[in-house]
Amino acid sequence: MMKNRLSSTRLFAALAIFSTITAVMLAQGQPARAQLNVDITQGFVEPLPIAVSDFYGATPEEQLIGHDVAEVVAADLERSGLFRPIDKGAFIQDPAALRNVPRFGDWRVINAQALVSGTAELQEDGRLRVEFRLWDVFGEGQLTAFAYTVPPSIWRRVAHIIADNVYKRLTGEEGYFDSRIVYIAESGPQNRRQKRLAIMDQDGFNHQFLTDGSNLVLTPRFSPSLQEITYLAYVNRVPRVYLLNLNTGQQEVLGDFPGMTFAPRFSPDGNAVVMSLAQQGNTEIYRMDLRTRQVTRLTRHPAIDTSPSYSPDSRQIVFNSDRGGSQQLYVMNADGSGVQRISFNQGRYATPVWSPRGDLIAFTRMSGGTFYIGVMRPDGSGERMLAEGFLVEGPTWAPNGRVLSFYRQMPADARGKQVTKLFTIDLTGFNEREVATPIDGSDPAWSPLIQ
């Protein structure tokens, strides 16, 4: 088994994502009279006007943190497409006065439907305490309130958690802002593209490169624990599936297979990886138990069988096969039995990914020279296209199963200049947004919510 250090230990210490966060639900006060709700199932909805006040800080340092936290909360909510943060210049009540109780009339006149207020306090023990409250402006009541005590260095996570709470309270759905994306950072012309493994928060901050670009790397995927990433790397021009431990920086080749291994993906419990093994011109799907290293073959067909993805209950696997003559989507039981084709419309289908909610499968479809990102139910019904282009590929689900990320590649010019960018889009097909990355990006994989 090959093991080597990827990079400095310090980098990985900085990546350690499990920090102590103490969360307390604050007293709820009087309940809101009105039920403020954002319906997110109906396609395009008018974004809800929301006021996110700077959080109150007693000292200039605390004021700055309070300002930054509010900015991150507002930016998260805005990017979801469901909320329209109101310009702070219109605010009448200042953070100090708002610390006690909102003057709802002040917020009604600027037509804020909801209001987020809070405080930031650096405690004597060096930890940061952030309180936030979400208010129903027209119902004149508090909707939810929490306090967090954390190391000050992870203030951005607190902001994301607050945004998740606001999102959840107002939409009824779990949030997805306290999550990360691992992807392939790219640069250079088409035929000498340098590719590096990179990781960042879902809003593009805390960006880190994980590999130096000396080896070609592709298709990274998160373990459910967020501790590990599995991906394809060409080391000495030999393509193999690798496992990277984010805490230690150790990477190891996964298994000792006679051919090329690729298309890895974790099982929902994180204890296994499903992947393809190509040998003598035949690609089959295998499952490897990560504890026993026992390998089980799941498909037996002379066609290409690849891109496996588990259902969240681990009972089924959706995959890509050309056994019917062209690339299509198939579902099988987790032991490989009961294979059924689920894609039947025109074109070729690829890269199926099961939603963490279990209700949908996202895919790439190629038809008539156009690429699409779409979703269908696991039985193949209800197919919808969400995005399209010269080349869009590789959908990945946000942890709440309501938003997808994918990458978009523009046609290269005659000199091989290539542009690939990451995007997110709502499940309804609205609100497509580019995810800002330092250089080009492809193959995004969204993490589960950080626990």
């Binding site: 690729f262 190509a278 011109g281 891109s307 000199r415």
Partner: protein, 172 residues
């Protein structure tokens, strides 16, 4: 050693004449015959370096036989043109029994990444199988797939894609 160096330069300049704007040399089928020999003035005895690539090398294969075959979209079966090239490759390999070759399978960019990795592997093996059927010892043949990761020809158009759907011989 010096002789080899000279012949490499000769081969490089030969290839330079037909190299397009690509990283890899685009030999294609039947590109170039043997290196031209310098004709000297009649009657005089003159020593000259043997021009052309060293037999049994990558350059020799590329110049005399061709270093690649092409595939149709989403296909891995060999065209008549490809089989013709492979027959010459088989003869070449039997002439240089020490040479071992890695066959790289490639796909164009008009597919998805993982499927194209599998397709490239299938293409490389389709080439390898045919050479083995022609009597080349399979132990001398390795395969690797690069999927759509390493296009030979730049641009996003039919001509580029046609040349990027390929199997390439790399003499080890």
């Amino acid at each position: 050693m010096r002789l080899k160096f000279l012949t490499l330069i000769a081969a490089a300049s030969l290839l330079g004449a037909c190299a397009s704007d690509t990283e890899e040399t685009s030999g294609g089928q039947g590109s170039g015959a043997a290196a031209p020999t310098t004709s000297s003035s009649a009657g005089a005895t003159q020593e000259s370096a043997i021009q052309g690539p060293t037999p049994g090398t990558q350059e020799h294969l590329t110049v005399n036989v061709g270093d690649r075959v092409f595939f149709d979209t989403d296909k891995s079966d060999l065209t008549a043109d490809s089989r013709e090239v492979l027959e010459k490759v088989a003869v070449w390999m039997n002439s240089y029994p020490v040479a071992t070759v890695t066959i790289e399978g490639h796909a164009d960019e008009r597919g998805t990444r993982e499927y194209n990795l599998a397709l490239g592997e299938r293409r490389a093996n389709s080439v390898s199988d045919y050479l083995a059927a022609l009597g080349v010892n399979p132990n001398r043949l390795q395969t690797v797939s690069f999927g759509k990761e390493q296009p030979a020809v730049l641009g996003s158009n039919e001509e580029a894609w046609a040349q990027n759907r390929r199997g390439v011989f790399k003499v080890n």
